[in-house]
Amino acid sequence: MTEYNLNGQTCRGDKIKAKNLNFYYGSFQALRDINLDIPGCAITAIIGPSGCGKSSFLRLLNRMNDLIYGSRIEGTIELDGKNIFDKEVDVVDLRKNVGMVFQKPNPFPISIFDNIAFGPKQHGKKSKIELEEIVENSLKKAALWDEVKDKLGQSALALSGGQQQRLCIARVLSVEPQVILMDEPCSALDPMATLKIEDLMRTLAKNYTIIIVTHNMQQAARVSDTTAFFMMEPDRAGSLVEYGLTSEIFTNPKDKRTEDYITGRFG
């Protein structure tokens, strides 16, 4: 394990470690032989052409793919040195630890307050004062508090798209995860809302490990510390082409395919 200094903090260089990872939907291989060390308290961007398995990879990290009938995994993914596919790992605990923000904002059709309080409530926090505190803190961390503090009882669906996405981030924060996965979190948002989310991500990166899938090269360059570039092999299985510090990937890519992709000559 290499420790290093990022964002003014000492971090594990291998908070998440994928080893010889293959992933299948039935007989279709979606990911081939992925080896990837994702550092803690940093933002890792996953980029690559459509269909190369970015979402599939992300959804392995909190085992959301368990829900897909016929999906199959070979190899391991370690979180803090423990294989998340081990039999004794409780997937419910794993997901508390590894939160996820989806491409389309998906607040529950209930009030803003209840959206944030939902997770903690299900995990046994019942006291009203405690819940109120969690809601306020989570919304503050998600930079949404000032906009909604006077209407916590209103339906979350009445918020704008960007606000809804920040609400979803606050909802994830409410259960105090260590890792936050984001699958194209800004693809449904306008540029202003996108910048807000990016600012938020930079702030959160001080305390959380963030992995973001994005199609937006500028976004990856602006926001992330490390970047992984995935591509499809001839049989359409996704594989990792290049991985490194974002500054290097974008200024000095080692692989010709990476260069072609980030300069827009491809995909």
Binding site: N62, M64, L67, Y69, V92, D93, L94, R95, K96, N97, G99, M100, F102, K104, N106, P107, F108, P109, I110, S111, D114, A117, F118, G119, K121, Q122, H123, G153, C168, R171, V172, V175
Partner: protein, 283 residues
Amino acid sequence: MLNVSAKQTQKLAMAGIWGGGVITLLLLIVIIGYVLLQGLPGINWEFLTTNPKGGLSGEGGILSTVVSTLYLIGITLVLLVPIGIGSAVYLSEYAPNNRLTRIIRYGIETLAGIPSIIFGLFGYALFVTVLSFNFSILSGALTLVCLLLPTMITTTEEALKAVSYSYREAALALGTTKWQMISRIVLPSAIPGIVTAVILCIGRAIGETACLYVTMGGSAAMPSSLLEGGRTLSLHVFYLAMETNAMDKAMATAAVLIIIIILINALTNLLAGRFQKRLKGIS
């Protein structure tokens, strides 16, 4: 050219939709209005608080039939709603997508199309005879449960399926168990659809006559327990209209029936609203 015809098609479609809506509304108003107009004058305190005299006279009131009806509906719902929702949750959330599940689903859909009198015969054979509940409210309610379960299950399952997949994903990704996800997010979101299912079933239960005649008998006496027979309002309307000359009383009974249906529907909606709020933790 294309534009014009597209617009005309839209106009035609709109006219059709409006026409359909207006006709439905008119029919509803005319039927309910007619029954109420004919029936309301016959309703008075004595009519509501005495039992039918029985026999061919058509004399007396409707008290015991109202009580029997409410009794029957109550027992039916107490059994039907939990079993129906439970089965629907199983089918929509837990059942593997395999041959057995498809056969079960096919069976349920087939059952929903079988005429009620067949269920009546089945209820007579099983509940009245074999289990010797005799002609009783219990036999009638159990028969209704069998008759209505398919409708209850399929309508509830539709309601559950209509709940967006993204809510389920969001809940699970927060580290909830599957059951927490179902009970806290899916079921509350599906409540409007489930209420529709319940109202549909109440409507059918109230309207049934033949299948209840062969399981509850037709006694006009006041039932004092579940194991006694009874006569529902619909059955009483049928009696009055076919066996006696008391057409005015039939109309008055029909008016009471309609009022009860309206009240039950309103009550169901009210309770569901409360329940939904509580489940969502808003209240």
